[in-house]
Symmetry: C2
Subunit: 351 residues, 2 copies
């Protein structure tokens, strides 16, 4: 395998035609088919020469000697990079946006987004808001549940609501809790969740000597309540059944999407923290990311590709995307993910 970058224009067009045809049909593409449909007016023999060179570069492969060519992951990569340069806009963005605007909390929004994305792309889709340093505390409430338990509800910017039950060393009066909440809200609202926790801890040290029981309790409750904005709850996955389409499609599929690999993927999807790790490791910058087959770090993902886009409303960065077999309709996936991502960003800015 030599350098893959230096391709003649003709080679590139043949490769692109091959990849798109293979994506549609799912069967190895022959030299004669390419000769007829490439629009280059070449004979199949010439195409064979070209294919032989593409194969040397590791861009295409033959399942067996007397078969046509299929793209390798590297071949998909070149094709996708080429697609990304000429990106299309999603048409139905308006309807989508108004539908998304109906969402209440961020959780609702992510739920809706993942659903829309799964339907539009006909693939498994996810939407994630990673625990962000820029989400700000808006309002906190305490409700006494029973003698030893207090419910803490935290509302953050972007209508993000989390609640959590805390075991306390002693019982609280309803009135005391309300007062405590008022105190916290007055003092710490507007800070990022992280800052707020820091500030509260600092305050606890400062005022340690004051022996104001109420104050101490309030700070303790608030600190514990802010301790954890679980990342698990901010990841939404939908459309798992679409994964079967790929496996069902080409009847006796020699694709590597088998029951075994499907199971591995499902297991990965179930352990949400693994998926979160995976996603956060990819997405550094804003914008579209495509990770193809063996480019994944996790072996379980090798039979699959991922198309994701991170959005940024200034306050919070999130990621939406789809997962499908490496033989995926990248054109459509990219268009849809990009469109949805931007719609989400606009919706969040609107708040």
């Amino acid at each position: 395998m030599t350098m893959a970058a230096d391709l003649t224009d003709r080679q590139r067009r043949i490769l692109a035609r091959l990849v798109s045809e293979y994506i549609e049909q799912g069967e190895p593409v022959s030299s004669s088919w390419l000769a007829e449909h490439s629009g280059l007016g070449l004979s199949s023999a010439t195409v064979r020469n070209i294919l032989a060179r593409l194969e040397e570069q590791g861009l295409v492969r033959q399942p067996h000697t007397s078969a046509g060519r299929t793209p390798t992951d590297a071949g998909y990569r070149l094709y996708v990079d080429w697609l990304l340069n000429a990106r299309r806009r999603l048409k139905s963005a308006d309807g989508l946006e108004t539908r998304l605007r109906r969402s209440g909390t961020v959780t609702d929004l992510l739920e809706n987004v993942s659903h829309e994305l799964a339907m539009a792309s006909q693939q498994i889709a996810f939407a994630m808001t990673p625990a962000s340093q820029t989400v700000r505390l808006r309002h906190i409430t305490f409700v006494s549940l029973d003698s030893r338990r207090v419910l803490v509800t935290v509302v953050a910017t972007g209508n993000q609501v989390t609640h959590k039950v805390i075991d306390t060393p002693e019982e609280y009066e309803m009135a005391a809790l309300e007062q405590a909440a008022q105190y916290i809200n007055a003092e710490f609202a507007g800070l990022t969740l992280h800052e707020a926790r820091e500030a509260i801890v600092a305050r606890m040290h400062e005022e340690r000597m004051i022996y104001d029981v109420l104050l101490t309790r309030a700070l303790q409750l608030a600190q514990t309540g802010l301790d954890e904005v679980t990342p698990e709850e901010t990841l939404h996955v939908q459309g798992a059944s679409f994964l079967f389409e790929g496996a069902l499609g080409s009847s006796v599929d020699r694709e590597h999407v088998t029951l075994e690999t499907l199971r591995a993927l499902f297991k990965l999807l179930e352990e949400k923290h693994r998926l979160v790790e995976l996603l956060t490791s990819y997405i550094e910058a804003d914008g579209l990311t495509v990770v193809i087959g063996s480019e994944h770090t996790s072996p379980d993902m090798h039979p699959f590709s991922l198309v994701a886009s991170s959005f940024n409303d200034g306050q919070r960065t999130g990621t939406v995307g789809v997962i499908g077999p490496t033989r995926m309709r990248y054109q459509r996936a990219i268009t849809v993910v990009d469109g949805v991502s931007q719609a989400v960003a606009r919706v969040l800015e609107g708040n």
Copy 2:
């Protein structure tokens, strides 16, 4: 197929042996194997006669002429009914219970329960609390999100927390909202959610003439907030990857658990409301319910069996259970589901 009820003791024992062996091995059971292992001291020929009669009754079936017998759904049914009469207790219930007690809200609890159940049974598991008429309002809070939106948080008995964003016709002051919440809490806490809504509507009619703006607004907010305790949020499913085990297990499985049927099931599981409908249609009384293969109303469920148990803590009725191929380890599933269900009930009573 004649009446299935009147079986001699010998027939019953042969059937039970056949079913349990088939469940373990996944392969048709032959007359000679049964003759050796039934403990009845019969020859294979006699067993063949018995099997022929069981087949007449529709309890067993031959995949093809020269194969052993497999149970039909009716055969499983008899076997399961027989199991239910001699139920075992789950041993590890203590550890389970303390683990479950760590859950905060009911949502947490259901999440944990479905997880525990999936792991213990090695099958896909669910936990559900249907919208209940007996849940009582404990505490309500309003938080202003932006000019036209208010977050309503409802805490109900059993640490059930729901929140919802409401679009309002006009802006509210923070102070006004707090006052409104206090009013609602003072007046309506302790009623069931349904009663509370009724009472609030009644109050709105009564006091229509009073022109107390604050009061009216409070009532309106509360009413809208209580309107919907979404059933979707109260269903938790986990362990989907276990479904693959069955399909992978017997290599080239002639079981009806194919990719196609798996896909149908996944689709059903994704549309949670369909699953909720299904479950609520089965579970009327307390206690264990087993629904086997073709006994399901939905064709998508025909290749699968369901073992569920509803629990009742006096306030609320919920359901936990597992789903697996009709060739399921019913003994284990029943024990586990029963044990977990009772543990959940105890945990809920503890609150």
